[in-house]
Symmetry: C2
Subunit: 243 residues, 2 copies
């Protein structure tokens, strides 16, 4: 059987016989954008109960109810990787959040560093980007989104059993896969600095922590969003679920 | 000595005593955007002669001449990796091209596959994105840009000494670093399909070629531009200049 192509994230807990009442954006998407009608099926997921078939049960005047049918995929948690990043401006931040979801991170942790250019974060916009990327890319677990915090405070509270890998543009050559391969299995986090990198004091603060590992991403300077995708790929290959 | 932060790609061959007459866009950028004036210095590169200091020698009415001074960096060629990709729509294509430059590829090879949604390519726009990314990211060698070609024609003419790695969403689990590590050193190419992936016939055609290696990028479906950055990161770590 060919499964439906469209996937929708819902906040209703999915179980046999459950019904989901769409909000107006979802109803508009299903009825006016996808042009679905009663009886048509889509895939739904709630971030914790896997993926299910659901049929459009009732529509009318911007309303739409979905009847949850049978499960199509069991819940998969994905790798225990937190992604710490200095927020970028609008479009690049959207992009960075979407990419992190595609790469399967468990938690998005925005970090304020000295050269971070963005003072405030729109959590709703980040959440919308997370959901959109998860719907498109078959992800079942939505990453949590933390509040924006200062790097120093974050490091002060750090639980050292989660090793923190960061991309250090000034460390010179060094094989990142060798460095990552030497890390014991366990929870991980990746930290990528802002455009312009960390300043010397931040770098010293990071280097002084026993739970921190620096990696090099080669001789070229990369933009922060590129470095994030590249480093998450290496981490997934070394310790995540790409092996 | 602190080097200037701004870098400009120029088509004049750089050598001691050379002068570069800026085109109007460059003159506008230097004089009106950066607000530089006679005597101010920037970095210039021509894609083949390394990076040089250059001073603004003369300005006036949209004109600007640069006097080439001393070299600051020797030419570096970067890894011999060709990047074959199904072109995406505007913003995502811009992004994909910029990222490929940051990751140091030697050649951009746009490929038409059955599910490719873009029929034509704006080569000038691609070139402008290449130059902008190279200026920003300290890259010295600009990748060549090929014309758009059909996948079948490209494979028929392929020189088998360049191994072609492609991302196969249907191959199931498999450690991509193990697969890449088993490839002999030498010229490489990466092929990333369009949104929606390759069709079965294309996949069969690829699998039948002795010069082709398939890799898996894990259990999540990634967008084409994400897959490109992720796979180029793994290839740089396995065979490029990140070791």
């Amino acid at each position: 059987m060919q499964l439906p192509r469209h996937r929708l994230y819902v906040e209703t807990r999915l179980e046999p016989g459950a019904a989901h009442v769409c909000d107006s954006a979802q109803a508009n998407y299903l009825i006016n954008v996808l042009r679905l009608s009663a009886g048509d099926e889509i895939l739904v997921f709630d971030g914790r109960s896997g993926e299910w078939l659901a049929a459009i049960a009732e529509t009318g005047r911007g309303r739409c109810t979905l009847a949850v049918g049978t499960p199509t995929r069991q819940q998969v948690e994905g790798p225990d990787i937190h992604y710490l990043f200095a927020p970028l401006k609008r479009a690049r931040l959207d992009y960075m959040v979407q990419k992190a979801v595609e790469l399967g991170v468990a938690r998005l942790v925005p970090v304020r560093t000295r050269r971070t250019q963005v003072a405030r974060l729109n959590q709703n916009r980040m959440r919308a980007n997370v959901i959109e990327a998860a719907e498109q890319c078959g992800v079942l677990r939505l990453p949590e989104i933390d509040d924006l915090r200062d790097l120093a405070a974050l490091l002060a509270d750090w639980r050292p059993e989660r090793r923190l890998v960061y991309c250090d543009e000034q460390m010179g050559a060094g094989d990142p896969m060798l460095t990552l391969g030497a890390i014991d299995p366990g929870p991980l986090a990746l930290l990528v600095g802002p455009e312009g990198g960390f300043d010397d004091q931040e770098r010293e603060m990071l280097r002084a922590k026993s739970f921190v590992t620096a990696i090099s991403l080669g001789p070229r300077v990369m933009r922060a969003d590129t470095a994030g995708v590249a480093a998450l790929a290496l981490i997934n290959a070394a310790h995540g679920d790409w092996r």
